[in-house]
Each structure stands twice: as C-alpha cells, then as structure tokens.
C-alpha cells in the first residue's frame, strides 16, 4: 500500500456535475482529485449517449454528450484536476470533527486519499456489469463465472464460453484464444456490433476450426460447488449443452449505488438528501451534487448539477480555508479569477 494522496477535495464521479465542480472549486483555489469507475471522464454523457444531442444546456441550443464533456474538460484544464479512472471508492473513514472535517478515502484499486471534503457526484451510482438472469448463477460467480477478465491465468487451458456481440466479447475472445483450451463465442444473432476487424479475425478462427461460434441465448448452467461443467444454449433449433469450465457474459453495464450505501449517509430511495443552501449531506464535509442527490423540487438535469456544485464550493471554501474570508467575484471582471484561468 502506497502513501496517501493528500488533497483538498475528493470528487466521486467524473460526470458533468463532478467536472464542473472542479471549475467552481478551482476559482476558490481548492484542489481536487476525481475518482470514477469508468475508464474515461463524462459519466453517463460519455458512456450512454456520446452522440445524442442534448437541448437543455444553457447557451447551447444543441450539444451532444461527448462534445459537452470535451468542453467541460477544456474549461477545467487551468485547474489541473487529477483523474483516477477504473476505480471505485469502496470505503470512507470520517476523521476530524463536524467543524473541521477530514476524510480518508479507500478505492478498489488500493489507493488512499486524505481530504478535507468529499463531494459525491456519482449520478445514478457506479456502472457495473449486468448479470444475466440465469437461475443459480450467483453460486458460480468469481469461481467459474466472471463478468470481466481480471487475471488471464484463470482461463488458461479451460474451455471458455464468452457471451456477447460487442467489443468486450470479441476482444476477450481473441485475447483468451491463445491460452484457453477452446473458446466458444455465444451471441443471439449472427451480426456483431464490435469493430469489424475483430469480427473478421473471429470469423477466420471459426472457419479454420480453431474456435466455435454458436447462436442463441444461455438459459441454464450445469455444475456443482461453483464449478461449471456446461451451459445450456437455447437456439432457433432447440436446446443444446456446451461443455465448459468458464463463462464470461458481457451484457453491458447498469448503474448501482454500490458501496456509497455504507458510508453512513442518510439515503432516501437510493438518493442522498441534501440541503439546498450548501448541498451538504447529514455528514459535515460530505456534499452530494447532481443526479445522486435529492431535495424538495429536485430536477435531474445537468444544469441542476452545475448550480449545486457552485453553491457547494462556497461552503467547501470554509472547510478548506477556515481563516479566509470569501468575497464573491465574477470571471468577467475579477483580475484574480482571470489570472487563475490563465486568461490575464
């Protein structure tokens, strides 16, 4: 375990609300680190609808999800935020006092942060792999059913069934092919949305007899004590068993609240209640902005997340600089703000 990263604020979630919070905090000389389970910034905007136009961002008659994210990244660039991708905040220790809070934040990747403030901007929660509704699948998880490939060695000399038609399924088919005993790719139709060159490589392997492609859906599992012996495939011509020791289903992502539920925060239907002056939770020093919070009249709009971040930053300033008075300034006229933005 390495040394703790010391920062003013840890922001949980790098979607639009978390990104813009960096800007509002930066104007007040507050430094932040962002942690996100995805491999890139933008949250739902980048993951679910990068190419969908959004029509209700003030000042943009029309902007697509990825453009908005790119613009936010350009906007916060002067404040040099540090991103930690592919990690989930697993545990949060409350240190300090309500008047002078501080926190220790532990991520799934083993990183530790020490901060004065935590801002939860986690949207609908963390993106986690969807599980197929196959009866009894839980008993096989982490032993012979995996929703991601973490250690390739787990698949060496095994007969592996991979399910899906996207890039994850095709990439792992090709990556595991050299070390697995046999790969069977299962997809519900003979049409793949993965990159064409990986689909072609897969088809070549199938044509040469080096792997199998089966069309249909997996309906049940066979095996004992978590060790898979076969899966049952339902295709257009009925059911058939495929003998195998590993199953890797790629069914996309869904949002789950995840470990946030265990941080001692009040929750209301998987949302975090906050006040509407500071957007602070029931724990002093932990704020919640964007889709994850709730208060009377809440609207789950990106613009609400921006507003909430701006107001939260004012109170965060009091925790980070207890002895400094904060005077309100405009970016249009304040030379000190313009200096921070690098435009003056």
């Amino acid at each position: 375990m390495g040394e703790a990263i010391v920062t003013d604020v840890v922001i949980v979630g790098a979607g639009p609300a978390g990104l813009f919070a960096v800007f509002e905090l930066g104007l007040l000389d507050i430094k932040s680190h962002l942690i996100d389970i995805l491999a890139k910034p933008g949250g739902q905007c980048a993951e679910l609808y990068p190419e969908k136009p959004i029509y209700d961002i003030p000042g943009y008659p029309r902007v697509n999800g990825q453009e908005l994210v790119d613009n936010l990244l350009a906007q916060i660039e002067p404040f040099h935020p540090t991103f930690h991708f592919g990690e989930m905040v697993e545990r949060l220790e409350v240190l300090g006092t309500p008047e002078a809070p501080s926190f220790r934040v532990h991520t799934s990747g083993g990183e530790i942060f020490e901060s004065k403030v935590v801002i939860v901007a986690a949207g609908g929660g963390s993106f986690q792999p969807k599980k197929p509704p196959i009866e009894g699948i839980e008993a096989f998880e982490r032993k012979s059913v995996f929703y991601a490939v973490r250690k390739m060695e787990d698949f060496r000399d095994k007969h592996v069934v991979i399910v899906g038609g996207g890039d994850s399924a095709l990439d792992w088919t090709l990556n595991l092919h050299p070390i697995a005993k046999r790969i069977t790719l299962v997809h519900r139709r003979d049409d793949f949305r993965a990159a064409p060159h990986s689909v072609n490589s897969m088809r070549e392997l199938v044509a040469a007899g080096h792997m199998d492609l089966r069309l249909g859906q997996i309906v049940s599992l066979r095996g004992e004590a978590g060790e898979l012996s076969a899966v049952v495939l339902k295709g257009s011509d009925g059911e058939a068993e495929i003998a195998c020791e590993r199953l890797v289903p790629f069914f996309g992502l869904t949002m789950k609240l995840g470990p946030i539920a265990d941080w001692g925060l009040n929750l209301h239907e998987n949302l975090i209640p906050v006040d509407t002056e500071k957007f602070e939770t029931n724990v002093s020093g932990i704020f919640a902005i964007g889709d994850i919070n709730t208060y009377p009249g809440k609207l789950k709009l990106i613009l609400s997340g921006f507003h909430e971040g701006a107001l939260a930053a004012q109170k965060v300033h009091r925790y980070v600089y207890p002895d400094k008075r904060l005077s309100f300034q405009y970016t249009t006229s304040s030379s000190s703000l313009q200096k921070k933005l690098g435009v003056n």
Binding site: L48, Y49, K52, K130, P133, G165, R188, R189, G252, T254
Partner: protein, 106 residues
Amino acid sequence: MVKITFIDSFGQHRTVEAEEGTTVMENAIRNGIPEIVAECGGGCACATCHVYVDEAFLEKTGKPSEKEEDMLDFAYKVQPNSRLSCQIKVRPELDGMTVTTPDRQG
C-alpha cells in the same frame, strides 16, 4: 387517442390511451406500468424497456433499427417479437395493440 394494452409477466392487463407521436415507453412510464424501467430515459441506450409485441402488430410496428438490435443484445429472453418500447412510435394503426413485458429488465 390510441389504445395500447400492457400485459405484465403475471398476466395482468392494463390499457392506456396513448397520444400519437409519443413512444410506447413514454406511455408506460406516464401510466406507472410495472416491469418497464427505461433507465436511460428513451435514448436507445440501455435495453430496460424491452417488450414482446403482439404478433398481429409486428408488421405495423416495423423492424428494429440496427442500433436497437445492438441494444437488444443486452436484453434478456429476447424473442423474434422483442422490441425496445422507446423505439416504437404511437400511430393510429397501432390502436388495440398489446405488448407483453418480460419478468425482468436486467
């Protein structure tokens, strides 16, 4: 108004009046139809508004787009009459259509 009936996985029928030009999913959400989640809000980005369309109406609703087929890969118990209800626009020809919801959306 166009009448659309949702049949849940327990067999219960619920009929709603749908406005032309809206989507079948929007009418489900507006009327609190169970078993339709619509996590992404109609963006064809999540496959949690999956329904089975009554065979008699399959031709009228048309075929899923390529994008919709890609999303259906993420749905469960997909059948030849599977559709994402956010991609079915309500038109007068759909009056009297029934759609069945699967027992789970993921």
